[in-house]
């Protein structure tokens, strides 16, 4: 599987309601050892409708940016939600969510 298979994939609930698309994939570096480092394993998916809102880096606590830009980007990202990987299953090109109500996106600290 490639990263691009996950990014942009539609996310639906079990009842088939559209929840958005995968905007980013949250990784935690505690997987199996690969060389000197632990592998980065998938922890969850950031789900939303606006592609640019995730990759500008305003969902990190310490990123402040110019006030106006930060405010606008955070406003664009207001509907972004988080789907923990254990609640997600891949069906074809779609991601099916085990939760009907997604979680708030946790800040990366």
């Amino acid at each position: 599987m490639r990263g691009s298979d996950l990014l942009g994939a539609p996310v639906v609930s079990r009842s088939g309601a559209a929840l958005g698309r995968v905007l980013d994939v949250r990784l935690v570096q505690d997987g199996p050892l690969l060389g000197a480092f632990a592998a980065m394993r998938v922890e969850g998916l950031v789900v939303g409708h606006r592609r640019t809102s995730a990759r500008l880096g305003y969902d990190r606590v310490e990123a402040h940016g110019p006030w106006l830009v930060a405010t606008v980007v955070r406003w664009l990202a207001r509907d972004n939600r988080y789907l923990p990987w254990e609640q997600a299953s891949l069906e074809g090109h779609r991601v099916v969510s085990g939760l009907d109500e997604l979680l708030r996106v946790p800040f990366i600290t």
């Binding site: 592609r51 990759r55 500008l56 310490e62 990123a63 402040h64 110019p66 006030w67 830009v69």
Partner: protein, 409 residues
């Protein structure tokens, strides 16, 4: 003295941005038509480019990353590609124009048709990039470009009523016989030219070429605050000399020879000789800047090894792109397309590239993961946000105004 030699990256960048062939003529056109009533645009442009060049240079010094690297990283591959296509097109058109510009300057010195010089100029541009060390290159062309200060000397020799000039500059108004759309078209052209994206591509990549680190942030700042205001002063001097000499005569500037006319009248043959050296240096410098920027932005978008510092065999695709750009540029000029007109139309593509270039710079210059304690301060951020809004407005207004005024005619 050694410290002074370090400012030439900024000087060369600014000369390539402010007094390249298109701007040499545009500043004279504006002076001859609008007097100094558009001087405020130059001031706004200088402040804007200082802000963003400083950010891009700071990011380059701290992280070793060129600007286009950041563009792709923050905008993603698609929007990054849109910017790449638009800005490479502007940069390439400008490169073609500069090759023609150097040839036009040679024509002024010899009266031999500029077209005959084009192949020679193209070869020299490529050769300098291929063989001349980066520092030597920026010192040689930056220093020779200072010959354009002849415009300032000429202005002083013409003995203008300084109070009147200052009044014109500080109380902008649209002169009689000129329409508001034309005035605003030129305002946008000057502003866009001052902030043209290849300046930050070149400046930030040049910072990497020079191996600047966090320790060189002072040098970086010095480069920005010496280089770009100097470019602005040169532009103003050109506009002022033509406002004094050509405006009263109702002369519409179309050619490089007319740009030189006020200085020739004021300073004579020596002034002319110095000016031609300045023209050659500035247009040649701009040709180097644009040729390198084409390579820098493409290589950075695609993750290729780039730079003059490495042997060409280790940055093969980068050098191949530069070579191809120079050859194609020369061919474009040889079709007898007017080099000055070419730069006027590149404005359209510039408009798309402006916000897409400066937005990622602003975002990364604030990113603590990259910048740590060198991130932007509040004042810079407030100003830069204002400029970003302005740039977006300019980008949206540029194309309708260009069509409405038939590019300022």
């Amino acid at each position: 003295m050694k410290g002074l030699l370090k400012v030439f990256l900024g000087v060369l960048t600014a000369i390539g941005g402010f007094v390249d062939i298109g701007d040499l003529v545009a500043n004279a056109v504006v002076g001859a038509r609008f007097g100094l009533s558009l001087a405020w645009v130059l001031v706004a442009g200088v402040v804007g480019i200082c802000l963003f060049a400083d950010m891009s240079g700071r990011v380059a010094a701290v992280t070793g990353r060129g600007t286009f690297d950041l563009v792709r990283e923050r905008l993603g591959p698609r929007a990054g590609l849109a910017n790449l296509v638009a800005s490479t097109f502007v940069t390439f058109l400008t490169l073609a124009a500069e090759i023609g510009g150097v040839a036009l300057a040679f024509e002024l010195a010899t009266s031999v048709s500029y077209l005959l010089f084009v192949p020679l100029v193209a070869f020299l541009v490529w050769f300098v990039i291929w063989r001349m060390p980066f520092e030597k290159m920026e010192q040689a062309f930056g220093l020779a470009g200072l010959c354009l200060l002849a415009f300032a000397v000429a202005l002083w020799q013409l003995g203008p009523d300084w109070g009147e000039l200052f009044r014109q500059a500080s109380h902008p108004s649209v002169p009689d016989g000129e329409g508001h759309p034309t005035y605003w078209f030129y305002a946008i052209s000057l502003f866009g030219a001052a902030m043209t994206p290849y300046e930050v591509f070149f400046f930030s990549s040049g910072a990497v070429e020079e191996g600047w680190t966090r320790k060189d942030l002072k040098t970086e700042r010095l480069n920005v605050y010496v280089g770009f205001p100097l470019g602005g002063v040169l532009s103003l001097a050109i506009a002022a000399t033509s406002a004094l000499v050509l405006l009263p005569q109702g002369i519409e500037v179309d050619h490089l020879d007319q740009v030189a006319l006020p200085t020739v009248l004021a300073l004579g043959k020596i002034g002319l000789a110095v000016l031609i050296v300045g023209f050659v240096a500035a247009t040649f410098g701009a040709a180097l800047e644009t040729a390198l920027s084409t390579g820098y932005s493409l290589a950075q978008y695609l993750g290729w090894q780039w730079g003059k510092r490495t042997a060409p065999k280790d940055a093969a695709r980068f050098h191949a792109v530069v070579l191809v750009a120079v050859v194609l540029g020369a061919m474009l000029v040889l079709t007898t397309l007017d080099p000055v007109k070419v730069t006027e139309y590149s404005l359209v593509f510039s408009a798309i590239a402006l916000p897409l270039t400066y937005f990622p710079i602003l975002v990364v210059a604030n990113d603590p993961e990259y910048m740590a304690e060198s991130a932007n301060g509040r004042v810079v951020n407030a100003l830069a946000t204002g400029y970003l809004v302005l740039l977006t407005v300019v980008a949206l207004a540029a194309i309708p105004l260009m069509i409405a005024t038939k590019a300022g005619q």
